[in-house]
Amino acid sequence: MSNDNKLDVAPPYNAVAQHGVSPIASHDEIARFDFLANFNKFMSGPLGAGNKVAYDTRVLPKFRKEHNRDPKDRFEIRHAMNEDPFHRLWSALKRNSMEMRQQNGRAMTLRQIDELNAKARQFNEGRDTLELNPDIEIPPYQSAVDIHCMPGSYHGEESPGDISAGANYDCGIFATTAGGLGALNDGGGQALVEWIKAKRPGWQPRRILDVGCTTGHNIVPLALAFPDCEVIAIDTAAPILRFAHARAQSLGATNLKFIQANAEDLSRWDDGTFDWVQTTMFLHETSGKALPKILSECYRVLADDGLMLHLEQPEYSDEMPLFEQFQRDWDAFNNNEPFWSSMHSLDMKDEMVAAGFDRSELFETGVRAVVDREIFPEAPTDETEDHGRAAYWHAYGAWKNSEQMQEAAE
């Protein structure tokens, strides 16, 4: 809120913009998301503060007394905190808010699924910008559990060809981020547009590849910002692609093609096809063996002078306090993100070097969601940050064999 005399409350769900395949919310469906958005603010703010207090004043002293040492990693902290009555209650409440978000989003979507599917068909049928491939298998890291406690995950269908997975994912982001991603949940993509225009003014990439695109939130703004660019977005899940394509078409992103494909094998594209290859909040939903394969395929299809960019939450470096690592790990064990913890303990710079980059080509930067601040709040990154969901990311990037960007960096 811009006015200093006002307390911090979530914007209303009414402020969310409608696109061509948005579910139409009833009054009470809006009210459910309004409650959850504000409840999540309370959980990460005033109530969330209790976790650190409990740790400092009783969990850590008890651990020291029992072990004669400090916890050696975030897992030991988690096990100790899971014995604490306050943290148990906080976690149980948070888990319920996640489950309620899913139920509310699914109820709103499924109540009108026939209408939504019909709208999607209008945007999808006969378009060569949507390419589904039934031979693509859902990888085990996508099917082992339902990610984010999202029943059916990204690939679940209530009826053949439906788009409910995408519509539910899209509408509920408002509740879990308390509006932090803006009117179209695209604050991340808007931030990328702002970033590249400042970083490399006048640059016109010929082709962009977005890997693990889900509903296309973060790639549509880039497609609109570079209308002459051929933009490709891939995902393994057909339901989410049907939704993403219809959404993108309705927003005018007609230079954006969605293809059902697995990023571990990009062999349909020649070496050096793309000037920009990116993932946004995707790599943590892969696996230990898939991640390096994906990165090296991304490197291969990236052209010289091109940009690779991966947006994630910050990695668990030695400099990050163990308690913060534990906080950031909550979703891994409580919100069905089974690769989250392992992924964030990787050194992404090492991973990118293993994929082919020279260490001198790498850079890191922070990316904050760009949204209409008149309506939508800036996501806090202080002690009230909602770890795992903050609309502020860490970008791991590199320019491939680029003399120009190398000079700019120096």
């Binding site: 809120m1 006002k6 307390l7 409350v9 979530a10 914007p11 209303p12 009414n14 402020a15 009833s26 009054h27 009470d28 809006i30 009210a31 459910r32 309004d34 409650f35 959850l36 504000n38 409840f39 309370f42 005033p46 109530l47 503060a49 209790g50 207090v53 409990a54 004043t57 009783r58 306050f86 209650l89 906080w90 976690s91 149980a92 409440l93 888990r95 319920n96 808010s97 489950e99 309620m100 899913q102 139920q103 699914r106 109820a107 499924l110 109540r111 699924i113 026939d114 082992a144 559990v145 339902d146 406690c149 999202m150 029943p151 059916g152 995950s153 009826s159 409580n334 069905n336 089974p338």
Partner: protein, 120 residues
Amino acid sequence: MTEQVFDWMAAANKRAKGKRPSYFDAPESDRILSILMAVVGEVSVVRERMDTIERLLETKGSITRDDIESYTPDKQAAYERGMMIREYIYRVMRGPHQMVQEIENPDRPVEEISAELKEI
């Protein structure tokens, strides 16, 4: 979906694959909290609906359900409603909120103080 009625609310209740953590020693406590939180959420929904009806009635004498469904708060009303939800959350979350204060500044049992007062 073509012949049978699609029970969308039953479908909305589908559980997510992946073992649900146990937060409390008694499994029923986890489930009772789920019910309680659902009620907490639904009371907030009823309050927001009441607020909508009151605001609509302030501007015209009679309203329809369509008026309620299509109501969109302006910026000021949106803030006031946000504040209403915030206040409500603080009211129902008093217990957990006070737990934080209690951990920050633990109190001695009143029995101890009672015994002391007897002596001074």
